[in-house]
Amino acid sequence: MKKENQKNTFKTPEGYFDSFNERLMARLADEEEVKSDIIPLNDGFVVPEHYFETVYDSVKNRLQGKGAKVIALGTYRTVYYAAAAVIALLVLTVAWNWSSEPQLRFEDLASTDITSYLESNDLGLSSYEIAEVVDLEEINLSDIMETQLEEEVILDYLNENVEEIEELNLEYDEIE
């Protein structure tokens, strides 16, 4: 420490360090109250004349339910939406009842609708149940097979697996 002071060629005013604390505290106190040179001291807001004289009466009236505040429509927006939805539902229900036809019967269904329903829905019937209701003479192989067999594939199968063509018990015109 002594060595450093010996090297130091700078000087301070007499008693500088004695008054340092006081000056620092004074500076800190100033900073507390600092006002900017750039920022205006007044922000430019004003109030209507005699406004503050009316505040107590306004609050009292509101507490007593007098001079109720006008509430913006937006506050009740959800209530209006709900009411509108209920009215719309009622109108639709009434309109539906007026315009709807008598109840549908089976005969009213187009056969294409029934076909498409049967094609797109699994009825869960076994082959025996189908056989009971469907006339064999009217049924084709393609009606019960999910995949269509090409004629060529069938012939290949028969060539490989049937030794005697007579076993098939086909009538003459069918072979041709």
Partner: protein
């Protein structure tokens, strides 16, 4: 100078409540009004929020336990009411809080209860860019000349934190005001 404890006791007593409430409103209306006005900016909105604040104070006086000063408690209610008001307004308009603050500052140009010049208008625009807490600290310190200890009790923030916020706010505002448009 009213004694807070006495006023609170009178407010809680049905017999003396009405008179005490009148004293309370007349004592704090101006200070609370300016605090609210500097948050919501428009006079009509400030009037609305001020009334809400007093009504809330009246209805909740029973729950005031005296752990803080009545004055700080009312300021806290006023601050919350003002911020809630702005938040509801921005939701109603479908904009963000930041966008609403910018719009409110822009609207001051045509506000009959704003007599500020160009630099005061620019100050409001600068304040609109500050984070909420910095803006609160700045207006409470700079315009309302409150002590850090008072602000600390209202905003429930340390004095050190408030000083830092204030310092930052001043720097940002000065930079905004001296910057090019």
């Amino acid at each position: 100078m009213i004694v807070e404890e006495t006023l609170v006791a009178e407010l809680k007593d049905k017999q003396t409540q009405a008179k005490a409430f009148e004293v309370l409103v007349n004592t704090y209306k101006e200070r609370l009004y300016w605090h609210i006005r500097r948050i919501v900016l428009s006079h009509d909105d400030a009037d609305d929020v001020l009334q809400n604040t007093f009504i809330k104070v009246f209805k909740n006086i029973e729950s005031f336990k005296g752990e803080s000063k009545l004055y700080s408690w009312m300021y806290r209610i006023a601050t919350n009411e003002s911020l809630t008001f702005l938040s509801q307004k921005s939701k109603k308009l479908g904009v963000t809080n930041e966008a609403l603050k910018e719009t409110l500052a822009e609207n001051l140009e045509s506000d009959v209860y704003f007599e500020g010049d160009a630099i005061q208008l620019k100050l409001q625009k600068a304040l609109a860019t500050l984070p909420e807490k910095q803006k609160l600290v700045f207006t409470m310190k700079y315009f309302q000349e409150m002590k850090y200890e008072e602000i600390s009790e209202i905003l429930e923030t340390s004095v050190g934190g408030l000083k830092a916020s204030y310092h930052l706010a001043v720097k940002k505002i000065e930079s905004y005001l001296t910057g090019a448009d």
